[in-house]
């Protein structure tokens, strides 16, 4: 099915949009979201290619999905205030005035 190959090329082309976002940023979150979108596109390419390349490609897609999530968790953890926090929790801390001075660096 040449059509599937065309779809794969199309998804790859849309992936380049994500790359531009990673390049330009401006924020860390923008770049990380770019990676997230690239991950979704990569999974889509593998899914599309699966009938052509063999269904084992789906296993690769599954791993990519799993590790894409891990990278995102790793990111929010790494950039949290003490390296082990959670932005939601940090927000709670920021909301209580007494803790405000502690959580802001």
């Amino acid at each position: 099915m040449t059509w599937l190959t065309c779809v794969a090329v199309g998804v790859l082309a849309s992936l380049s949009a994500a790359l531009l976002r990673v390049w330009h940023g401006p924020g860390r979150a923008d770049r990380m979201m770019g990676a997230q979108l690239a991950g979704t596109s990569g999974v889509a390419v593998l899914v599309v290619l699966a009938p052509l390349e063999g269904w084992a490609a789906l296993d690769v897609a599954l791993i990519l999905a799993l590790f894409g999530a891990l990278a995102a968790v790793g990111f929010v953890k790494a950039v949290s205030a003490d390296g082990g926090g959670d932005p939601e929790e940090d927000e709670d801390l920021a909301a209580t005035p007494s803790a405000n001075g502690v959580s802001s660096e």
Binding site: T40, L58, S80
Partner: protein
Amino acid sequence: MNDLATYAFTSIGLFFFVAGSVGFLRFPDVFSRLHALTKADNLGLGFIALGIAFQAESWRLVALLFLIWGLMLLAAGTMSQLIARDALRERDGR
């Protein structure tokens, strides 16, 4: 028939992908971009998975396809929440 369904659904999926990517590039700020990312692309992936499911030789593969989609949805949902909060923090300079 199956091929036809594949054509149709993968086309829709590809459309969402392209639309989502354009939005991701063009939207002015990080939060609307997040919107484009989580909605359109995961919808696109869902349609593509659906299209490919018509080619699958067994139910195991269909299940696998939707497990992949579900995992991506879960990841995207969680991550958009967390990344958005980090973006808030970054914007507020904290």
